[in-house]
């Protein structure tokens, strides 16, 4: 065979057509891929929902834009659950806003090893990891209060954004728990409270004053909770220095034995016009399952308790002492009662002596105050001030004092409004300027009430009549074709 009679393969028309088709196809597909890659980088989103429920808050967007490292978010949810779809919607918004957000949904039932790796205890937990730092958000941090679970406002954005703030080290103020006096450990009896506060984006730390020169500068709130022994004079002075530089205080002081008086703590509280009564509250009218030593006090309306009041949530304070409050203190302090007993309650003085409680003449009659919030009104703007239109400044929030320490321990914390009461107190003290506060998303689904007649009409109309009409047209068309 000679070379002239054999056409080179690349000169054959079929090869040339095929290769040009291939090149054109690759070019078109590559162009489409490029357009999509650019489109992914420079995309726009429009939220068409009523209430813009899929739009992230400005604070969240600002935090996401500060991310310079990848954040892995693992969401442990049951596949197909409503909570999973809510969280997925939210996390997709985070992912759309920042290329550094990596989202993985893990069904613990299908991936038990991964769940075990992260010490997963509850479904609905989120674990955020950035480098060697991690934050955990529990399911209770994701929803606001409400009696009907499906109608609870969703607070996932606030929880996620606060945790991002902590991972980035941009810091919400730390909550320090005083230690060294027999207090419950934040990794022991207060561990659930600790987890909840961390899930809200707060950093919690233990504070051992004898080893510190002063209360750390990053302390937003110091919690003195459940003292079994009094603080020392030196510790009191360090705490006073901290409070003098606008520190905030939460005291959880349950009854202590007469041999263990809390004189130094009392001195500290005197600056607020509050003293700890040496009693044990007995509440025969409003108590938890007839346990008169576990009062369920009336919740007074205040910024701290408003959500509990609105949602009709109670609190229980097992083993409480009353507070003696100088209501008309002249020092400019504003004292607001948060929790009051009924009038039938009393403060039992010699509760250590008798095995049964009985009201005596020396006992303090009710109603008794079990929690108080302390603030100081800022001076009002003067009339000849150039900025007279500015109005009054916000009051300075100073302390919240409870006559009980067990309402937030692991055994009692999950009762109705207990944990929210303390977390609200922390947030109230720190104020909106210092913490991320994002409006919870209200459920947007409107319920529908159907009667039997409506249900039947809807079913037969949509499942039977409409398809039958189309099928009938098809039969007519078929018959016409057969007859032609």
């Amino acid at each position: 065979m000679t070379s002239g009679s054999r056409t080179r393969i690349w000169r054959r028309p079929a090869f040339q057509r095929g290769s040009s088709t291939l090149v054109l196809t690759v070019a078109v597909i590559s162009l489409l891929i490029l357009v999509n890659v650019l489109g992914a980088r420079y995309h726009r989103r429009a939220d068409w929902t009523r209430g813009r429920t899929n739009t992230l808050a400005d604070q969240t967007i600002s935090i996401l834009q500060k991310l310079d490292r990848d954040v892995q978010i693992m969401a442990f949810f049951q596949k197909g659950s409503y909570q999973a779809s809510q969280m997925r919607d939210l996390l997709m918004e985070y992912k759309s806003t920042s290329a550094h957000i990596r989202v993985v949904f893990i069904d613990p039932e299908k991936n038990p090893s991964l769940a075990k790796l992260h010490d997963l205890i509850e479904l609905g937990t989120i674990v955020m990891v950035m480098g060697n730092k991690s934050r955990r958000i529990g399911p209770y941090n994701l929803y606001d209060m409400g009696s009907v679970p499906s109608q609870r406002p969703f607070r996932g954005e606030q929880a996620l954004t606060r945790s991002l703030v902590e991972l980035l080290g941009l810091g919400q103020a730390a909550v320090y728990f005083l230690q060294g006096h027999g207090e419950p450990d934040i990794w022991g009896d207060y561990s659930i409270l600790n987890s909840f506060l961390e899930g809200e984006g707060f950093t919690t730390k233990a504070l051992n004053l004898p080893t510190e020169e002063e209360v750390p500068l990053d302390a937003g709130v110091v919690v003195i909770g459940g003292l079994k022994r009094d603080i020392s004079a030196g510790e009191r002075q360090e705490l006073e220095s901290y409070l003098d530089r606008a520190g905030k205080l939460i005291v959880l002081a349950g009854p202590t034995a007469k041999a263990q008086q809390l004189g130094e703590l009392d001195s500290l509280l005197n600056r607020y016009g509050v003293a700890l009564a040496d009693d044990l509250v007995v509440e025969p009218e409003r108590s938890y399952f007839f346990d008169v030593l576990s009062p369920m006090p009336k919740v007074r309306d205040h910024d701290i308790t408003r959500k509990l009041v609105d949602n009709n949530l109670a609190v229980v304070l097992p083993q409480a002492r009353s507070l003696m409050v100088a209501w008309n203190t002249p020092s400019g302090l504003v004292l607001d009662s948060l929790l009051d007993t009924s009038e039938k309650a009393w403060g039992e003085k010699d509760w250590e002596v008798h095995s049964r409680v009985q009201k005596g003449p020396e006992d303090t009659p009710g109603p008794l105050t079990l929690a108080v919030a302390v603030s100081r009104e800022a001076a009002a703007a003067s009339l000849d001030d150039k900025n007279a239109g500015a109005g009054k400044q916000s009051p300075q929030r100073l302390a919240v004092i409870f006559g009980n320490s067990s309402f937030v321990d692991n055994k009692t914390i999950s009762f109705q409004g207990n944990v929210n009461l303390l977390v609200n107190a922390v947030e109230w003290l720190l104020g909106n300027e210092a913490i991320i506060s994002i409006r919870a998303r209200e459920p947007q689904l409107t319920p529908v009430r159907l009667n039997t007649g409506q249900a039947i009409r809807i079913f037969y109309g949509t499942v039977v009549i409409m398809p039958l009409v189309l099928a009938s047209i098809g039969v007519v068309v078929w018959l016409r074709r057969r007859l032609l």
């Binding site: 999509n36 989103r45 929902t49 009523r50 319920p447 159907l450 039969v475 078929w478």
Partner: protein
């Protein structure tokens, strides 16, 4: 455009004169109606999102059935040579056929507007997710039909065209499952090509230009591939 219009009219008439079209539409409406009413009775909320999730699977099965006859029937009837030698380009033929099946699909989708009408008569649903859901479903369905048209052009057999179309759609539908921690970035890239992943935003009332671009790209890509396949058949 006039030639595209001619092809479009011819194909639309063929669809409207074919009993199969009405069978497919009746089956789709029966299933759609069942999903709508069952979800409404079970959840008792004015929300079409669960409906869209389920009906997507139904159209995944029906789209290849609607499109399998587009080219395969031409071969079966022996009219493909006539069509390919007519004074109209292959691109115009493909566009005309695609528009015809798209109109049938939009008519079908239009018939389901009864469901949001029922919801509005019973309550105050949020119109945003409903509008966005329908826009997304229209685009997703249009992408399905482009894949189905391509499958029909690849083979002379309607059955094989239907199965091939279903297989391709299923592959792109389930890419979403590839967002597994173990696959890392590759998994994320593949999941971004998922048709169901792109639809999720529309369902919740969010219009993202990325998703609009993805569906449009699918349509363009598969129409382009259809043209190339038909050209190859024309020359062989």
């Amino acid at each position: 455009m006039a030639k595209v219009w001619c092809v479009f009219k011819r194909e639309l008439a063929a669809y409207l004169c074919t009993p199969l079209t009405y069978v497919v539409m009746a089956v789709f409406l029966a299933l759609a109606g069942y999903f709508f009413s069952a979800i409404l009775f079970a959840l008792q909320v004015a929300d079409l999102r669960p409906f869209f999730e389920n009906i997507g699977y139904v159209f995944l099965l029906l789209a290849p059935v609607l499109t399998m006859r587009l080219w395969s029937e031409e071969d079966a009837r022996g009219t493909s040579e006539l069509l390919l030698t007519a004074p109209v380009s292959i691109t115009q033929i493909v566009l005309g056929k695609y528009l015809a099946v798209l109109i049938i699909y939009l008519i079908l989708l239009g018939l389901t507007l009864v469901y949001p009408g029922i919801l509005f008569s019973l309550g105050r649903p949020d119109p945003g997710p409903i509008l966005a859901g329908y826009l997304g479903f229209a685009l997703m369905g249009a992408a399905f039909l482009a894949v189905g048209l391509f499958s029909s052009a690849v083979t002379c057999s309607q059955v094989i065209a239907g199965i091939l179309g279903f297989g391709i759609l299923l592959f792109f539908w389930f890419l979403d499952w590839l967002s597994d921690p173990a696959l890392g970035r590759i998994g994320e890239i593949l999941a971004a090509l998922s048709l169901v992943g792109a639809f999720a935003d529309f369902q919740k009332g969010v219009i993202d230009t990325r998703n609009l671009l993805l569906y449009t790209s699918f349509i363009i890509a598969f129409l382009f591939l259809t043209v190339q396949v038909v050209k190859r058949r024309a020359y062989t």
